[in-house]
Amino acid sequence: MSDRQLGLENPSRRKLFKSRTQKRTLVRQDVAKQGGYQTDNLSDAAVVPPLAVRVLTRMGFGLRRTELVPQEAPDPERIFSDRFAFGSNLLGRDDVAYFQSLGPTDDLRLERYVDEQLRDDLPDPEWESRKAAYPNSFDILDEDLATTYSERECAGFNDYAEPQRQVERAAFTRACYGHRQLHELMVDFWHNHFNIFSGGDEDIYVSWADWDKTIIREHAFGNFHDMVQASAKHPAMLHYLDNYANEAGGFNENYARELFELHTLGAINYLGNSSPTEVPALPTNPYAGLGDPLLDALDVSDPTYSVQSEYTDDDVYEAARALTGWRYDDEDVDVGGECVDGGSGAFQVNEGEHDGGQKSILARGFRTLPADGGAQHDGEVAIKLAAYHPGTARYIALKLCQRLIADDPPESVVQAATDTFYANRTHPRQLALTLRTILLSDEFKDPATWGKKIKRPFEYIVSAMRAARCDYTWRFDDSDTDRFLREFDDAGQRLYWWRTPDGYPDERAVWMGSNTLAQNWRIIDWLVDENNDNDARRVMRILDTTLDNFDGDPTPRELTAFWCEWILGFTPDGGWVGPQGTFWNNEPTELGKILMRFVTQQFDTQDQDAPPWPADLGIPRNELRNDPNPNRWHRRLRGLVQLILWSPNFMQR
C-alpha cells in the first residue's frame, strides 16, 4: 500500500525526476579537462554478467529468447553427438538455458558451444524457413555469378541493384534468427576487413550476392590465403580498388597498397620512409616449408632467400606491377542497339596490359619474380608473399582479438592466436582453428576483459530484436523494412556502405559519439513502438511475452524483475529488484532503482505531486493490453523494456 503508511518519504513526480543536466554537463567538462576517467568500467551502473551471457554476446548477436526455459541440471550421461537433437529444441528459444545445458562446468560448456558454432553442418532451420517464406526477397542469393551478371549488369538500376539489396535483407535476418551466430559475426568481420563500398557502380551492386557467398561466407572459417586470392579475382574488388584499370606503363597502385596495408600485413608492418634494402630481414624464410608450388618453383622458398620483416612503398609499387592486367569479363552483348547480356563477371587476364618485367617484393632488393611470368602467375605470387608473411598472422590475430575481446586485447592471447594462424597457413580450416584458440583462451573467459567494448549499431539493434522476441523478416515490399533501413542508415553503419577500404572502425570511441548513441536509442524507440497494437504485424512481441508469462495481474516489481532477466539473460545475487516492500530508492541495483521509479511514477498528469503506484500492487492485465487512461500501462511497459535495452548493461560487450 501507500508508502505514507510506513512513514517513508513519498516523492512527487517532480522530485522524482529532478534534472541532473547541469551536473552531467559539468562532470563531462571536468573529465575532458583532466583527460581521464575516474573508473576503469565503461559505466558505473553495469554489472558483469555470467559466462553464458558474455559468450552469447561476444560470439554473435546476443542471446535469443522466445520463452524462459527452466534451468535443467545438465545430464553427465548426455554425449556430445546428441547435441543437435537436443539442442535444436533450445537454441534460438532460450539461448542461456541452451548454453547451460551443454555441460556441468563453464569450461566444458564453452568448449562445446565453440565447437558446435564452428561446425559447417550446424542446422539453421529458422533462416531456411524464413528464406523459403519470401522467395522474391532471397532468390538471387543462390544464383551463380554468370547468370546474375549477364542478366542484370546492363539492365536498369532496380535490376542490377537487387542482388545487393537481397544480401542486405538476408544479413539482418540471418543475424537475428540464424543459429550459426559465430559464423554470422565473422561474416560481418570479413566484409569489413575486405571492405568494398557496394553502392558505387553497377558491377559491384550486381556481383554482391556472389561476393557475399563465394568470398566471405565460403571462407569465414576457412583458409585465409585462399580468401585473399579469391577476393583479388572478384569483379567487386577488382572494380572497387581500381585493379581492373591497373596497366603497364603507368600502374595504378590502389589495390596493391590496400592489399598490403589493410588486407594482409597491415599498417603496423609498414616502413614508409625506407628503401627495401634498409629493412631488417626475418631470421628465417617464412615461405620455406610451406609446400606452395608457385613459390617453390621460383626459389622463393629457398632457406637462403632473404625476406623483409616489414613492407615499404616500393613493395607496393612492385606488387602493383605484378597485378597489372587483371580483369573481369564485363563485355556487353548488344542486339539491335540494346544490351541483352552484361558479361559473366568472370576473372580473366589481359597479357597485353601486364607489366612483364622482373619484380622484387619483400625481398630486400633481390629479384622475386623473373620477367615474363605472366599476369595471373605474377599477381598470385605477390598475393602469396603478402598473405603468408608472419606480419600478416600478427595483424589478423590482433584484429580478431579486438573484435572478440577488447579494443586493446591482452598481448598473451594475441600471441597465441598469431601462433595458431601462422602454424596453419595452408590448413583448410585455419580461421576456425584461430578462432578456437581465441575463444577458449583464459583471456576470453576472464570477466576482467568484459565490457570494454560497446555494441556497434548492427550488433546493438539486432541483439535488441533477439532479446525482445522479435518475429520479423526483413524483405522487399514491406514498409517496415524500408523504414528500418532508413533509420538504420542514420545510425551510421549501413551495411556494405562504408566508402573507404578500411571498413567500419572497431574502436569503441567511434561508436560512442552523441549521434550514434542518440540514433541507436531512437531506433529502439521506433522498434518497440512499431505495430504494437496489431498482434499480427508485431515487430517486437513485448505484450504477448508479458501476458504469456504471468497468469494474474503482475506487479511493477514482478514485471521489472522478469524483463531484466529476460533481456539481460541473468539475475544477479540479490536480484535486480529487492523483495516485496523495498522502497524504490533502496533497490539493490542502479538499474532496478531507475526502472522501478519509472514504472511506478504517479499517474495523474494533472497533479504533479500525486503518489506513485505501489510497487507490489498488481496491474490489471487488460490495462496492459488496452492502455486506458489514466495509468497508460501499456506505455509504461514499453518504456520499461526500452530502458533495459537502452541501459549500459545491454550496450556493453
Binding site: S19, R20, T21, R24, T25, V27, R28, Q29, V31, A32, Y37, Q38, N41, L42, S43, D44, A45, A245, E247, G250, N252, E261, G266, A267, I268, Y270, G272, N273, L398, P409, D490, G492, R499, T500, P505, A509, G513, S514, N515, T516, L517, A518, R522, D525, V528, E590, L591, R597, F598, Q601, T605, R632, R635, R638, G639, Q642, S647, P648, M651, Q652
Partner: protein, 443 residues
C-alpha cells in the same frame, strides 16, 4: 519522428536548465529558441577553431597549379589536358585557373573563382601555405597512418589496432590547455558536424557529434520526459560510457530546443543544399548560439582520385567535390562574416598528403607528399601564398611527389596560437624535436 507538443516542451526540465547554464536572460517559450543575445558583439568573443579534413589526399596540383615559371612547364609535361592538368593556357577557357596575386606563381582552380574561395583570398580572408606536410624522416603514403599522425599531431605515431597509440588528438590537447575553455556556462566546448568523432578530438569527452540531427522524443507520450530523464539516470556515473551518454542526452536536449530549420544566415548567403553545405551550416548555426563551442570539425571524403580524376566534371569526381567544397566553405565564411563572428574564427583546411605530379595510366593520380593548406578567418593576413617549395622539377621530387617544406604543425599551431590566442603551441605538439615556428599568416 514525433515532434514534441508545446506542452511537453514546457515541461522539459533540461531546457530550463540550459537557459540557466548559458546565463541567458531570455526564457523564450517558443520553439525558435535563442539562448542568448550575442553577448560578445564584435569584441573578444569565444574563439572557435574549425578543422576541415579532406580525406583521401586532395590533388593540390589541380587545386593550386603553377601558372608560370619552370614549374608550369613541368606540370604540363606530366599531365593530360582535360584530365588532371589544370593549365592557364588551356584551349578551353573554362578550364583555366585564375591567377593569385602574391601567389608565388600559383593559380587557383576555376571552380573557386566567381565569388568562390578566390574572392575570400582577394579580401585577405584566406591565406594559403604551399608544400606543407610531414617533416623529413616521417614521410608516408598510407592514408591511415598519415591521417592518424596528423590528427594526433605526432608525425611518428605508429598506426593500427593495438599499436600503442598516444591516445589523444591534437585538438584535445589544444582544448585541454586553453585557459578560455570551458567558457563559463558552456554547454558544449566542441562539436563534430558528421556521424562520428574524429581522431583529432580523441580523448575529449565534451563533444556534440551531430549528423542531420532530428528532434528526439520517445514514443511513450506523456511519459516522454520522465523516460528521457530515466535514460539519463542510467548513465549517471563518471565512466567513459556514462560521460558519452550524457553528451548524447545533452545533444538531444540541445537539438530539441533549437529550431534549426528556420535559420537566416549572415551576409545574405544561401547554403547549397548539398552534404557539405549542410555540414557547414550546422556549425555556423551552433557557433552563433553562443554555446561555448571552441572547436568544430568536419570531414569531407572522396578525394582519393586514383582513377579518372575528373578535374573539371561538375557531377563527378574531383570536379564535383571541389565545387561542393568551394560553395559550402564560402557560404560558411560569408555567413559568419555577415553575422559578426569571423574575427573570432580560425578555419584550417587540409588533407593527409598530396598527390604525385605525374598522371597515371588511368587518368588519375597516386599518393604524393607535399600539399597546400588553406587558412581562413577574420584575423588572417590573407591574399598571399606562404611557405617555400623546392618546386616540381623531376629531380626535386621524391617518388614523383613534391616535397613538403613546411611542417603541418606550424600551420595548425599558428591557427591555434597566432589567430586564436592559445598560449602554448609547443605544449600542444609536445615533441622535443619540434619547435613551433609560425609561417606568418596571422596579423
Amino acid at each position: 519522428m514525433k515532434r514534441r507538443t508545446l506542452d511537453d516542451l514546457k515541461r522539459a526540465l533540461s531546457r530550463r536548465d540550459f537557459l540557466k547554464l548559458s546565463g541567458a536572460a531570455t526564457g523564450a517559450a517558443t520553439m525558435n529558441l535563442s539562448f542568448a543575445p550575442k553577448v560578445f558583439a564584435g569584441g573578444a568573443g569565444q574563439k572557435v577553431l574549425v578543422y576541415v579534413f579532406l580525406r583521401g589526399g586532395i590533388d593540390g596540383h589541380a587545386l593550386l597549379p603553377p601558372i608560370d615559371g619552370a614549374d608550369y612547364g613541368h606540370l604540363v609535361d606530366a599531365r593530360r589536358p582535360g584530365r588532371t592538368l589544370v593549365d592557364i593556357n588551356d584551349s578551353n577557357a573554362s578550364r583555366r585557373p585564375a591567377p593569385l596575386p602574391d601567389g608565388q606563381g600559383l593559380g587557383i582552380h576555376p571552380f573557386c573563382t566567381n565569388g568562390g574561395l578566390r574572392s575570400i583570398y582577394m579580401d585577405s580572408g584566406m591565406a594559403i601555405v604551399q608544400a606543407a606536410g610531414h617533416p623529413p624522416g616521417t614521410f608516408t603514403r598510407s592514408h591511415f597512418d598519415a591521417q592518424e599522425q596528423i590528427e594526433f599531431g605526432q608525425p611518428l605515431a605508429q598506426s593500427g589496432p593495438g599499436a600503442g597509440l598516444p591516445g589523444n588528438g591534437w585538438l584535445t590537447r589544444y582544448l585541454m590547455s586553453s585557459p578560455a575553455v570551458p567558457a563559463p556556462g558552456a554547454i558544449f566546448t566542441a562539436m563534430v558536424s558528421g556521424g562520428s568523432p574524429p581522431t583529432s578530438l580523441g580523448g575529449w569527452s565534451d563533444v556534440a557529434t551531430l549528423d542531420s540531427p532530428d528532434n528526439f522524443s520517445p514514443n511513450t507520450g506523456t511519459f516522454g520526459s520522465t523516460h528521457l530523464a530515466s535514460l539519463g539516470s542510467l548513465y549517471g556515473g563518471s565512466g567513459e560510457l556514462d560521460v558519452a551518454a550524457g553528451a548524447a542526452l545533452d545533444a538531444i536536449d540541445l537539438i530539441n530546443s533549437l529550431d534549426l530549420d528556420n535559420y537566416t544566415p549572415g551576409g545574405g548567403v544561401t547554403y547549397p543544399n548539398t552534404s557539405d553545405g549542410r555540414k557547414f551550416k550546422l556549425i555556423a548555426q551552433l557557433i552563433r548560439q553562443n554555446l561555448g563551442i571552441a572547436c568544430a570539425t568536419v570531414d569531407i571524403g572522396g578525394w582519393d582520385t586514383h582513377n579518372d580524376q575528373n578535374s573539371f566534371n561538375e557531377f563527378n569526381g574531383f570536379g564535383r567535390n571541389l565545387r561542393e567544397l568551394n560553395d559550402a566553405l564560402v557560404a560558411f565564411y560569408r555567413d559568419l562574416e555577415g553575422a559578426g563572428f569571423i574575427n573570432d574564427v580560425g578555419i584550417v583546411v587540409q588533407s593527409e598528403f598530396g598527390r604525385q605530379v605525374k598522371e597515371n595510366a588511368s587518368y588519375g593520380t597516386d599518393h604524393g607528399l607535399g600539399n597546400p593548406m588553406l587558412v581562413l578567418g577574420g584575423g588572417v593576413n590573407g591574399r598571399q601564398v606562404y611557405g617555400s617549395t623546392l618546386g616540381i622539377a623531376p629531380s626535386d621530387r621524391i617518388g614523383d611527389s613534391m616535397v613538403p617544406q613546411t611542417d603541418f604543425r606550424n600551420v595548425l599551431g599558428e591557427v591555434a596560437g597566432g589567430l586564436l590566442g592559445h598560449p602554448d603551441v609547443d605544449g600542444i605538439f609536445a615533441d622535443p624535436d619540434f619547435t613551433y615556428a609560425p609561417v606568418g599568416f596571422s596579423t
